[in-house]
């Protein structure tokens, strides 16, 4: 059995799209049925740290912030539990993305390798006719390697091992978060949609997009980008 495991390494500076974009890469080997839960655990943990309550702007330039609730999620195929933001909309959006990634992994057939990326970005308004620029400031990439296990005993060991590795990865994510590196500055009311996703009704994550790539057996990557519906596409 290929040992399930995670490693984390910083992407080399040259690989970052812009100077200020922080990039973190996680690698994971999981069984096919664990892909969804493992991805959701990581994405939800990142978004827990990158979501605030809803902003309510008032006169005189003040704003108040709503409250973010949290809830525990138990995994069915991994001995693991994680905390996510209490927002059904956000959970649905992530599940949709991860579901598509999982289907693409499955239908790619051979090897079962791919990666899913969560990118946080800011919008910079440009004059007409140019469209707004999206400037990423943080990029999380999870590289997935799907392993096939022969028997139930191996699956049981995989459950526990992947659970332990996920614990390590949560610790790593938290470590990155608490470095207190660049975060977009708090926006005024007119600018809030350039920094935050205000479409959810109960929480407000930083603007993000999720994309994935599947590596086929030849090693070439077939890019399939799934873009989340965001306000600028509607504005056009």
């Amino acid at each position: 059995m290929v040992g399930p495991g995670w490693t984390r390494r910083r992407a080399p500076p040259g690989a970052a799209p812009t100077m200020n974009c922080r990039a973190e890469v996680l690698e994971v080997s999981v069984e096919g049925r664990q892909v969804e839960e493992a991805m959701l655990a990581v994405l939800h943990t990142v978004l827990l740290h990158r979501s605030t309550g809803k902003f309510h702007y008032k006169k005189e330039g003040t704003y108040s912030i709503g409250t973010v609730g949290t809830q525990d999620v138990d995994c069915d195929f991994i001995d693991f539990a994680y905390v996510r933001v209490s927002s059904e909309e956000l959970d649905r959006a992530l599940r949709k993305a991860v579901g598509e990634f999982k289907d693409a992994l499955r239908s790619s057939g051979s090897d079962g390798m791919g990666q899913i990326s969560l990118e946080f970005y800011q919008k910079k308004k440009s004059r007409w006719p140019f469209s707004d620029e999206c400037i990423p400031w943080e990029l999380w990439t999870i590289k997935v390697n799907v392993v096939n296990l022969a028997n139930e005993q191996e699956r049981q060991i995989c459950r526990e091992k992947v659970g332990e590795k996920l614990c390590e990865k949560i610790i790593n994510i938290v470590e990155v978060m608490n470095r207190h590196e660049y975060l977009p500055k708090m926006p005024t009311q007119s600018e809030v949609d350039n920094v935050f996703d205000t479409s959810l009704k109960d929480v407000q994550p930083y603007l993000y997009k999720i994309s994935y790539q599947i590596t086929d057996s030849l090693g070439t990557s077939v890019t399939t980008t799934m873009r989340r519906l965001i306000k600028d596409t509607l504005a056009l």
Partner: protein
């Protein structure tokens, strides 16, 4: 550049640290209750959710934390520690984790208290929520109830790690720099759980009715009592907590941005609680639901109104400039309680409870406590509910099920036995009950088919031939019916 902390900033910082410490304890203890935690997001700020996070306040836990702090704050050499330990039904106990909230001397003079520190403390609490689920004690606490319970103890002072055994590991949750020092939150946890394998606890039957001794003698001079992380329903209903002497504090939820014409930036606005509103006769600092200004609960109020504040030109998060801020003061008075003059409980801890809006504080306590899982109630955690045995008079089925039923009534999974719903095809018939042996013997030697015996066969053949013409005549009569039937088939 103003490097000295203004008195207002100092007060704010102390308040943030104090509530951060209280919320830290709540998160840790609630994560060891043994049940899944779920709080709701709210798009409208309630004013009672510190750090913009929905973290419920268990009154007993807050009380214990305040008792341990005794009016002090974590400082250099004075750490707030939450010790999580496991106690078996036989009385053995073992420390599992020590969570430490420490302060060191490394100061960040340029950081903005009201905005950056507050937001970073919020982030740190989120990290704590995540980390409390990944240490080994989390899984142990989810299985507590029968063989063991998880206890917590809060103490203040020097960190004591000796009870964790050899080779304990440390995980750092995070740090937040402030002008008076750097707050560090970390956890040291035991990894040598060899003699307390969780598997042991899954094999023995549940133990009922064990009385927890809340107060365990500790070898340390600064001993404080151990408390179970979960509650027995209805217990401590009558507990009366002494009134809190420090003032009621509202949490800060209003922020401000400079006018759009300026470069965007944000400041935190808040107001220290206006005390004694409507409660002068009670003598307790009490705030009523909806805040002082009921019509505009989150509006800026108070003498420090923002109107005259100069614009802030730089991004606070970078901490490159010290801004001349003024602390502005809204009142977010949603720390409420159903205060009655006779109550002497800690009203501050009654926030976030929607059930407490009316009614006595005792009812409130009752409501909160009843929602908790009892420590030793008649609900075995590891019970496997066997599938319903089909009611049958068959001794066959009865004998097959008897062992399984008695085994499952004790309620625990036995790895050696698995309950199978046995539905044998051959003995379902209630009219002819038989056991396996009889069935086997009978059908080992089946009787000859009657139609195969020659005599009977010949006899029936002759009868058939004789009756044939009659049958044919009948069929010919009904030809039309048959034709109609055939047509319906097409």
């Amino acid at each position: 550049m103003d490097t000295d902390l203004s008195s207002q900033d100092r007060k704010d910082l102390d308040k943030f640290i104090k509530f951060f410490a209280l919320k830290t304890v709540q998160v840790i203890v609630q994560a060891r209750l043994g049940e899944k935690i779920c709080t709701r997001s709210s798009s409208s700020p309630t004013g009672s959710d510190w750090f913009n996070l929905a973290i419920k306040d268990i009154p007993e836990v807050t009380h214990e934390a305040k008792k341990a702090l005794a009016g002090q704050l974590p400082a250099v050499g004075r750490s707030m520690c939450v010790e999580i330990s496991l106690k078996t039904s036989e009385g053995d106990s073992m420390e599992l984790e020590i969570w430490c909230l420490e302060m060191n001397e490394k100061c960040d003079k340029e950081i903005k208290v009201s905005y950056t520190v507050y937001n970073r403390l919020s982030l740190l609490l989120k990290s704590l929520l995540a980390i409390t689920r990944v240490t080994p004690a989390y899984r142990l606490s989810r299985k507590q109830g029968h063989e063991y319970v998880i206890l917590y103890r809060i103490y203040f002072g020097e960190v004591q790690l000796s009870g964790l055994g050899e080779g304990f590991q440390t995980v750092r949750v995070g740090t937040v720099g402030t002008p008076v020092g750097t707050i560090t939150l970390s956890c040291a946890y035991r990894i040598n759980l060899a003699f307390m394998s969780t598997r042991q606890f899954e094999r023995t039957p549940p133990i009922m009715g064990i009385i927890i001794d809340h107060f365990v003698d500790r070898p340390y001079p600064s001993s404080s009592p151990m408390h179970p992380c979960n509650y027995r329903a209805g217990e401590d209903n009558g507990a009366v907590y002494p009134s809190v002497e420090d003032s009621q504090e509202v949490c800060t939820t209003s922020f401000s941005t400079s006018p759009p014409s300026q470069l965007s930036s944000s400041r935190l606005s808040y107001q220290p609680a206006a005390l004694g509103v409507g409660s002068a006769d009670m003598g307790y600092p009490v705030l009523f639901a909806g805040g002082l200004n009921a019509a505009h609960p989150h509006q800026l109020l108070g003498p420090g109104k923002e109107g005259g504040v100069p614009p802030v030109p730089s991004q606070p998060a970078h901490g490159t400039q010290a801004d001349q801020e003024r602390m502005c003061t809204p009142l977010d008075g949603v720390h409420y309680s159903a205060a009655t003059p006779s109550s002497s409980e800690d009203t501050e801890t009654v926030s976030n409870s929607s059930e407490g809006k009316s009614g006595s504080p005792h009812d409130l306590l009752e409501t909160i406590f009843i929602r908790k899982v009892g420590a030793f109630v008649n609900k075995p955690i590891n019970q496997v509910n066997p599938p319903d045995s089909p009611e049958t008079e068959s001794p066959l089925q009865g004998s097959l099920h008897s062992e399984g039923s008695s085994g499952s009534s004790t309620g625990n999974t036995h790895d050696d036995f698995v309950m199978i719903d046995f539905k044998p095809a051959f003995s379902k018939d209630d009219i002819l009950p038989m056991d396996l042996g009889t069935f086997y013997r009978e059908f080992q030697n089946p009787p000859q088919l009657s139609s195969l015996s020659i005599d009977i066969g010949a006899q029936s053949m002759a009868e058939d031939l004789d009756s044939l013409p009659e049958k044919l005549a009948v069929h010919e009569k009904n030809v039309k019916e048959f034709d109609a039937f055939v047509e319906t088939l097409q």
